[in-house]
């Protein structure tokens, strides 16, 4: 099995490396999402990103033939994915306030609107519909060296930010009122976290699809939450679980000829079930 995997390395090594780097970045970011109990936001932001791609495909189809070739380029697609996921993250970032709509309702709106509109926008273009279905289903084959460099930079940034700011992040996600009382500009921090979430999800969606992105965002952090006694070690355990499942998923997928993204997500779901079982046994 391992020999098979190494044999495929030359052909797919960029896809493997990008998949693992994404698993790392998403699982570190996912700790914040899970700690704030905002798992559904991950799905909504991923879906908002898909809407951005759908609009980019539509614009490309409409105007690329009129001299605007850049509208059909990969950077434009990625840019639209990032812009829409950042917008989705910022819209869903507001806290629950008396007299206003709940965060959960706003998140539901973003998810449903993006999911429906992304299909409607490309409904008359067979190529567009196919592309959207591909994104929703996830496919991480086809990554390039440029993707590898981009996600390596994102991984270094995620690790660096988590190392430098983890105490403030902990306070922000565990007790925003206290964070404000000690002088943290909580709105600014909250906005920065949302922009980071949108950036990471938007970049990931283009390369790995919605299922892999959402799975790696929330499942490793949920596993870590059930294994750790404190939030702080979750920032270490979550990426270990995410990357570990990514490595196992890709090796197994290569051997048994399954799609690697889906297999990785199934492995993470099984790991979460095992973590739940362990916790139940320990507390009973």
């Amino acid at each position: 099995m391992i020999a098979d995997f190494f044999a495929s390395w030359e052909l797919f090594h960029h896809a493997y490396l990008v998949g693992w780097l994404l698993a790392f970045v998403l699982s570190v970011t996912g700790v914040i999402v899970v700690a704030r109990n905002q798992i559904f936001i991950g799905a909504a932001v991923s879906q908002a990103s898909t809407l951005g791609i759908a609009l980019a495909l539509w614009l490309g189809g409409m105007f690329a033939g009129h001299g605007l070739h850049w509208l059909a380029s990969a950077p434009f697609l990625s840019g639209m994915a990032v812009i829409f996921s950042v917008m989705g993250a910022l819209i869903t970032a507001g806290g629950d306030k008396a007299g206003r709509e709940s965060r959960e309702a706003v998140t539901g709106w973003v998810f449903l609107f993006s999911a429906s509109a992304s299909i409607l926008v490309v409904a008359r273009s067979p190529h567009g519909v196919e592309e959207i279905h591909k994104i929703v289903a996830s496919s991480i084959i086809g990554a390039t060296f440029a993707d590898f460099v981009l996600f390596l930079a994102a991984a270094v940034a995620a690790a660096g930010l988590a190392a430098v700011t983890h105490r403030r992040l902990l306070l922000l996600i565990m007790d925003p009122a206290m964070a404000a009382a000690v002088g943290m500009r909580t709105r600014l921090w909250g906005g920065a976290v949302s922009v980071w979430l949108g950036l990471v999800v938007g970049l990931s969606i283009r390369s790995s699809g919605m299922l892999y992105t959402f799975g790696c965002l929330v499942l490793p952090a949920l596993v870590a939450k059930n294994l750790c006694r404190e939030v702080r070690p979750m920032f270490l355990v979550s990426p270990l679980v995410g990357v570990g499942a990514g490595v196992a998923g890709f090796v197994l997928a290569n051997h048994y000829d399954y799609p690697p993204g889906q297999l990785t997500v199934v492995l993470l779901c099984l790991a979460l079930s095992a973590a739940w079982l362990r916790r139940r046994v320990r507390t009973s």
């Binding site: 700690a35 704030r36 109990n37 105490r167 403030r168 902990l170 306070l171 565990m174 007790d175 009122a177 206290m178 964070a179 404000a180 009382a181 000690v182 002088g183 943290m184 939450k225 750790c228 006694r229 404190e230 939030v231 702080r232 979750m234």
Partner: protein, 255 residues
């Protein structure tokens, strides 16, 4: 600002949006004073605290803190409650050490502050316990320990004894009084418990629908002031030992 003035507000007005909650509040708080903020719900006590903590900006007037509080690391804050995601794993150690955000301290000093703060609230030796295994009262004390870990010179507490049983509440107040006297800790304490205020306050601020009457406790704790603040007749009796009894004046009703 005079050297021992910790906090000073002049003509302060503050609120939310167009709604003014505080109007023309002038108050001066000096080092080592133990202030109780009294008044019915919704008259501006928490709004005042938020303004002190710079979470709200004054609409008019000004509020200023002594220069030593510019970095906020000398201010401790105990909120009414803490809404942590209950599915999140955490220990008493991690929870209390959150209070040190923004404070420069090495690992050894952090541990030392943690032990000191936990001892002060009678949670010594419980650092490694699961936070969620604590009782409601113990969690409330952990909340106080989190503020004390900053070794504050100004401690702001917003109804901290509401979740504590009688003995825990007494132990907590006693520890605050000790800190207040031994280390000249300035305390701003919001409570509805007039008996506690009568026993421990050096100064009292009475919130009356946005306005504030403030001064030394002996002058403020009288039936007239309290009656004006709460809108009901209040009777205050002082024993020669210094103990103050506060009760609802029945005016002949129900006797």
């Amino acid at each position: 600002m005079e050297n021992d003035i910790v906090l000073s507000s002049k003509g302060l007005s503050a609120g939310y949006g167009d709604r003014a909650v505080l109007r023309d509040v002038s108050i001066e708080i000096r080092r080592g004073e133990f202030w109780f903020l009294l008044g019915p719900n919704g008259v501006g006590k928490t709004t005042f605290l938020k303004t002190v903590l710079a979470e709200l900006r004054p609409v008019t007037g000004e509020i200023s803190l002594h220069g030593e509080f510019a970095g906020r690391d000398a201010i401790g804050f105990v909120p009414q409650r803490c809404d942590i995601n209950p599915t999140l794993p955490t220990t008493v150690r991690e929870f209390v050490l959150l209070g040190l955000v923004g404070v420069r301290a090495g690992a050894a000093e952090r541990d030392e502050r943690l032990s000191w703060a936990l001892d002060k609230v009678a949670l010594g030796g419980m650092a490694d316990k699961d936070y969620w295994s604590l009782s409601g009262g113990q969690r409330q004390r952990a909340l106080v320990a989190r503020a004390l870990a900053r070794r504050p010179r100004l401690l702001i507490v917003d109804e901290p004894t509401s979740g504590l049983d009688l003995s825990a509440g007494y132990a907590f107040l006693k520890s605050l009084v000790l800190l207040n006297r031994a280390e000249r800790l300035t305390v701003l304490f919001v409570t509805h418990d007039l008996a506690v205020a009568a026993r421990y306050a050096s100064h009292i601020a009475l919130f009356l629908d946005g306005r504030v009457e403030a001064g030394p406790a002996a002058g403020m704790l009288n039936g007239e002031s309290l009656g004006r603040a709460y809108g009901i007749p209040v009777e205050v009796c002082r024993e020669t030992s210094g103990i103050v009894h506060i009760s609802l004046a029945m005016n002949g009703e129900g006797r």
